[in-house]
Symmetry: C2
Subunit: 171 residues, 2 copies
């Protein structure tokens, strides 16, 4: 028995040390979805502003999502596409106070398209990480809350975002 506890203690400590060694890694969502590291470098699908809660947003897409957005394949989006929405509270541009700019970072939330794996939640996996330290949000059933809010856009493949019109990339 003593040996059992010793082994467990050593394992826990080893795990802690490992965690410290990779402190920049963000934990997965409680539903098991892995944090999409590097989303800050993704390209832009759209932006938005909400007057009801005074927030600004940018909607990023991974490479598959950008290809789909630019070719109009957004209903349905292809498997492998990931959409990421970053939300900030409104601030005012000091020298142009009628303009709203990003103030406090609220959260980053994501939709992961896999029509088979996530068939029970609209063909999307859902996850959110809150605050500047990207703390995983919710519990194992977090997708239920996401799906409930996105139900009005069920016919748009569960996505509020429409890709922003941009001129084609010039050669």
């Amino acid at each position: 028995m003593k040996q059992f506890f010793t082994i467990c203690t050593v394992s826990v400590l080893a795990g802690s040390n490992l965690a410290i060694g990779v402190a920049s890694e963000v934990p997965p969502s409680p539903n098991g979805i892995t944090f999409p590291a590097g989303y800050q470098d993704w390209r832009v699908v759209a932006v938005s502003h909400r007057s009801d809660n005074n927030t600004l947003r940018v909607i990023f897409g991974n490479d598959q999502a950008i290809a789909a957005a630019r070719s109009g394949q957004t209903n349905r989006w292809p498997d492998g596409a990931i959409l990421g929405k970053v939300v900030w509270k409104d601030g005012a541009i000091p020298e142009w106070p009628q303009a709203q700019k990003p103030d406090k970072f609220v959260h980053a939330e994501f939709m992961f398209r896999d029509s088979a794996k996530y068939a029970d939640t609209g063909g999307w996996g859902w996850a959110r990480w809150k605050g500047p330290d990207q703390k995983p949000y919710g519990d194992a059933n977090v997708a239920q809350e996401c799906v409930a809010c996105h139900t009005p856009v069920k016919d748009n493949n569960w996505v509020f975002t429409r890709p922003a019109p941009l001129p084609p990339v010039a050669k």
Copy 2:
């Protein structure tokens, strides 16, 4: 004289054919600044919304601008940095009408940092291309209009944009 007209006509037609052949190329600004092809793929510095003229914006940065934004080197921005602002008219998200999303593409406008070359206009080159066909805007003195509007942010290196807070890219 007839031969002269013939030569001119042939030249104009040749020019037209050439233009059709490279239709994806966007002409330079009237002040000589070259269109920054591919800006649609650049990373995001910030977003903004203007309540005074109902427009949404994304501010892109080239690699030098993104590196500067993420390391806080924005007053002054380094030579080589380019900031690009894309402007859309507000539209409403049909299923969430309190939210504004990009509607009509208005223009893309740019600041090119070169403190020596553009010493007379705040150390920045300025240019704008209008509409979905990216038509060059203004005349050879277009920078004067830009500088006049940006004078309130002279002490912020002539830039209204403050980089949006984003968590560092996780490894």
